[in-house]
Symmetry: C2
Subunit: 328 residues, 2 copies
Amino acid sequence: MELKFEDAKALAVEILTSRGMRPDYAGIVADHLIDAAIAGHAFAGLPRVLALVEALEKKPPARPVTIVREDSISAVIDGGDNNGYVTSVIGVDKAIDLAKGSGVGIVGVRNTWFSGRLAYYVERAARLDLVAFHTASSTARVAPYGGIDALFGTNPIALAFPGKDGPLVIDLGTSAATWGELLLRKRTGRKLDPGMAVDVQGQPTDDAAAGLDGAILPWGGPRGGALSLAVQVLGVLAGGNTIVKDVSDYGFFFFVFNPELLMPINQFKTRAEELLDIVRTSRPGLGAERVRIPGASSLLRRAQGQVRGTLTVDDKVYAALQNLRPQS
Amino acid sequence: MELKFEDAKALAVEILTSRGMRPDYAGIVADHLIDAAIAGHAFAGLPRVLALVEALEKKPPARPVTIVREDSISAVIDGGDNNGYVTSVIGVDKAIDLAKGSGVGIVGVRNTWFSGRLAYYVERAARLDLVAFHTASSTARVAPYGGIDALFGTNPIALAFPGKDGPLVIDLGTSAATWGELLLRKRTGRKLDPGMAVDVQGQPTDDAAAGLDGAILPWGGPRGGALSLAVQVLGVLAGGNTIVKDVSDYGFFFFVFNPELLMPINQFKTRAEELLDIVRTSRPGLGAERVRIPGASSLLRRAQGQVRGTLTVDDKVYAALQNLRPQS
């Protein structure tokens, strides 16, 4: 069904606050989920309220987010076991403030869980004419390259650059599949692709349930595996757990800087746009209509969604959300 | 044949200075090539002197490397058209100095060419208890994801972290193959693997000569392609060309920071080592003896090479180098 943004937000906020989340924090989460939904990432939209409720019901109440230490170029943030949708906004906004003041902001966020779409956070910086780099470690579900034990998170990496026609946003996971993809395939009975996962004995499997019990494989062979490890180490440096056994103690790393340290912003935007134009108008490969810029279709879908003012929610998800309303 | 380090260095310095390179710069290049050779990257060792001479003979004399602007957290360096083996050492050492003083160093290097092994530069920072991130754009030989025109360089990314038993060094190219690999396969008549390259019409090819005329493909599908683009954009921000048509105007980006901004160094090293130990002792996949840490075998081979004090040079390469000596 189609939901107006304000109705979707009110529904998410009502459910999340009834599980103890602060109203302002619930609003931050809802805005993120609506943004993800209209950018075309349906699974990262309202269905995440179900996963949040499940996690919240197992946890003691969150404590306030606190700044552990801070100087003009860096900050360490204790997330107080609040979810990452909230702590990541606080983290990137702190990095943005530092970068606006000193030119650079390096921020680590600890004591938090879930991470949302990393694109959402780095884009905030790029829209303010800053460059951002961000990584997040997460629950151990992915094997290291060459291994079969679930040690790493799906460990995404995101980068964003200010641009003439909006930011350039790059956001990639370092696992062959997401946890959500495996859950979806289990539910729908669809087989896994080769190279996605191994079972608990470490044998390759095309069965999603077996993969969920075993380990997801890293993306991109030894190189992807190396990046996955780098995200895990940055997570440790940010104060996350070495191996994240539960839905807690993720480690988020933010690096935001003012590109004017290296080049006047308008010159950078002009030259970056020149580069993107050359890419866009270059010859496409077999079967492709044109060469696409990463993230561009998400940005376009979102712009269209904002005009429409509504988002699509799966009927079953909507029914499940109604069941979670406190008065029901 | 086996060459003692001092003889290899003297030979490289003699040849490079005879083509106009400053003796101290030639020494920096020679040290890098010897390090690459003993780390097991034979092609990145003395054979590179041949490529350097070819490039130097086409170029006007280099100008001095200059600092265009600098503050306590960043610097812009004009490489004066010196080669990247030299300007990258100057660039990373500047970033290290800044990070030692202020906590962070963001450095862009422009007006330079070739880049060497990025691992070599980031490792310098990690050995001084700093974290380093480094990218390099380079000559247009790689298609953007979904395209067939050679627009990007092989665009490597490197990261290094200080560690208890030496640094953790991650260094990866974002192209399906290196230019050197294609040259080698052309010379030896070996076919290209599927997905490595397209010919000048954009058709997949297994012929190395056709691939050299066409374009190398990006590594890692859309995600690898996105990283390749990010390196190109960081190269632009560093002052490199949008599309690097020649052997000049590469753009190098360095980000070095003190991990103590986020966590006491000994705590970080202990926890990172804990993580690496868990990875090393986790169950290996089918056919693997154990799970390996990226870069570890390079570091081990180099340590063994340093004890040996000699490196292996291909006899034909050695003969070619002898031919380049000024007195011959």
